[in-house]
């Protein structure tokens, strides 16, 4: 078949309209709420020019790419402990453009996990891997039939899930920081 300037082969619009509910309802771009993507005529419901400033009751870490603390922010899990120091350094020293920023944050995440496990155990509410991993949901939900003999690509590596989660990235973060220091 030669390459010629004709449309892709496809069923006619009439055929599609008859077969598919709502086919073509938004054919006209004017009916598409995000066309054009940028519009300045939308009413958002805001009755402010800038939202009032949320009080900063605890020091709030922020990206160095922000000129000031934004007026609204989450306060869910303030920085604390060693993971807090690591995360704080990621925010203070590296912009979002720096790989070290993100690797330090991931390192902070892993340290946070180890610390929290220890704390939870001391406080008498140790982590329960059986409940927390949700493996009990396998019971009665076709653990074999859902996974095997049906062409799933992920069964090749899903055994790795529990093994690998903790590892190598932490090492890499350390190497990168050491290199910048020099």
């Amino acid at each position: 078949m030669p390459y010629i300037a004709s449309e892709h082969t496809h069923p006619s619009s009439d055929e599609l309209r008859a077969r598919i509910p709502g086919w073509g309802a938004d054919l006209d771009p004017a009916d598409r709420p995000s066309v054009p993507r940028e519009r300045s005529d939308l009413a958002s419901g805001a009755h402010w020019v800038i939202p009032e400033q949320q009080p900063e009751l605890r020091r709030r870490e922020r990206s160095v790419e922000h000129g000031m603390l934004p007026p609204v922010f989450g306060t869910a899990q303030p920085l604390h402990g060693i993971s807090g120091l690591i995360r704080g350094a990621a925010y203070k020293r590296f912009s979002e453009a720096q790989t070290a920023h993100w690797l330090l944050l991931i390192l902070g995440d892993r340290v946070d996990v180890i610390g929290s496990r220890a704390r939870s155990t001391v406080r008498g509410r140790p982590d329960n891997p059986i409940r927390e991993t949700g493996v009990l949901s396998e019971i009665g939900r076709h653990p074999i039939g859902s996974r095997f003999g049906r062409g799933r690509a992920d069964v090749k590596h899903s055994w790795l899930d529990p093994v690998i989660v903790l590892g190598p990235v932490s090492v890499l973060a350390l190497v990168l920081v050491a290199r910048r220091r020099r």
Binding site: G24, S44, D112, V113, G151, D161
Partner: protein, 381 residues
């Protein structure tokens, strides 16, 4: 209150937490009635999103009842039934003023590259999410909308993210009548994107995944042609064969950071965290688009770099369009589609699980057991 709490990769539990308080004059506290687990939550659950702190509560898809309002709230009252878009945004900053609600600059101290999202790590602002009995909803005059009486609550729940995102993704494709549209990923976002492509006049819609039961759903629910990428040697070649050797006009990536189909890419990204995301589906999209075609990326990727085949994208003159979806902008038109019966979004829901069993709910969805497509978490009977 009871809340889902992150304990580390692949581990969550339910804990007792204080009911959130008004922290800003335009906050509301919402008592959650239904929440859902999103494919994006899996990226958190698998430990892929930097600055995901132990103790955080996930959940950016939720509906509920207004429990308390801050002193400056005008558009909501205690007792209102509301649906809340997954984006937190101010409505007036440089970006919001252009309608880029998912890119608000006033709500996320931790990063400038991404806006504010409920329950989506500190990188997205450090807000707790709605997989809990109560949630803090900042800038309550802007985000939430009252749920119309005629709207099924589970349809409202799908509007908060998955449906709005699929619909937005199709719009970024700039589909014109007769276009061949390929959707990678048959999760909720991909299924809704496929349906939306028809609304916009696509001539063919082809959905790609490796999960047979989801592809079956794509055929029945979204009237799409389907291909399992594990049934063919080379999905790109297969798509070329099926599109007159030209490639597709529009491709939608509804897979994102944990894409499968190439063990090295998947493991280096999803397991070793050496890439921001596994770009398998994105690379397939680049290679199976026609020259001059458009790729709409709804799949989420992390902030680190990814091994993307950018040269092919460049040489083919592709237009790559992306964003977190500004969910609420889609609502007026989506409500018309639902009311007219053109869309029945709750049909993607396969599992309903009480909050106490949220860990099991995540495992089921993550491991894709029991035909799971979308899981809803219930906090009340």
């Amino acid at each position: 209150m009871r809340a889902m709490v992150y304990r580390g990769p692949y581990r969550i539990r339910v804990e007792e937490k204080p009911i959130p308080k008004i922290e800003h004059p335009n906050d509301a506290i919402v008592r959650v009635t239904r929440a859902a687990i999103c494919g994006s939550d899996l990226h958190l659950y698998h430990g892929m999103m930097p600055d995901t702190r132990v103790g955080s509560t996930f959940g950016h898809e939720f509906i509920g009842v207004v429990h308390e309002v801050g002193p400056s709230v005008q558009n909501l009252a205690v007792g209102d039934r509301v649906m809340v878009p997954f984006n937190i945004y101010c409505g007036t900053c440089y970006f919001c003023a252009k309608g880029l609600y998912s890119n608000c600059h006033n709500v996320n101290p931790n990063a400038t590259a991404v806006g504010g999202i409920y329950g989506y790590s500190h990188t997205c602002g450090g807000y707790d999410g709605g997989q809990a009995e109560y949630v803090r909803v900042p800038l309550a005059d802007v985000g939430p909308s009252i749920i119309p009486d005629w709207l099924h609550e589970e349809d409202a729940l799908m509007m908060t993210d998955a449906l709005a995102t699929g619909y937005f993704g199709a719009q970024l494709g700039d589909i014109v009548e007769g276009d061949t549209v390929v959707v990678f990923g048959a999760g909720p976002v991909g299924l809704f994107a496929a349906q939306s492509a028809w609304l916009m006049g696509a001539g063919r819609v082809i959905v790609i995944d490796h999960l047979d039961y989801r592809l079956e759903k794509a055929r029945e629910f979204a009237f799409a042609e389907t291909i399992s990428f594990t049934d063919v040697n080379d999905i790109v070649l297969e798509l070329k064969k099926q599109t007159d050797w030209l490639g597709a006009d529009v491709i939608i990536d509804a897979v994102g950071a944990e894409a499968d189909g190439n063990v090295i890419q998947h493991v280096s990204a999803a397991k070793l965290k050496l890439q921001g995301g596994s770009p398998v589906a994105l690379n397939w999209a680049i290679d199976s688009a026609r020259k001059g075609g458009t790729i709409s990326v709804m799949g989420a990727y992390g902030p680190l770099f990814s091994a993307v085949k950018f040269g092919d994208a460049m040489n083919k003159g592709l237009t790559i369009r992306t964003n977190q979806a500004p969910a609420k902008r889609q609502w007026p038109r989506l409500l018309e589609h639902i009311q007219a019966g053109r869309l029945v979004p709750r049909d993607v829901i396969t599992h309903r699980i009480p909050l106490e069993y949220v860990a099991e709910g995540y495992h089921l969805f993550s491991a894709k057991l029991d035909g799971c497509i979308k899981t809803v978490i219930t906090t009340e009977p």
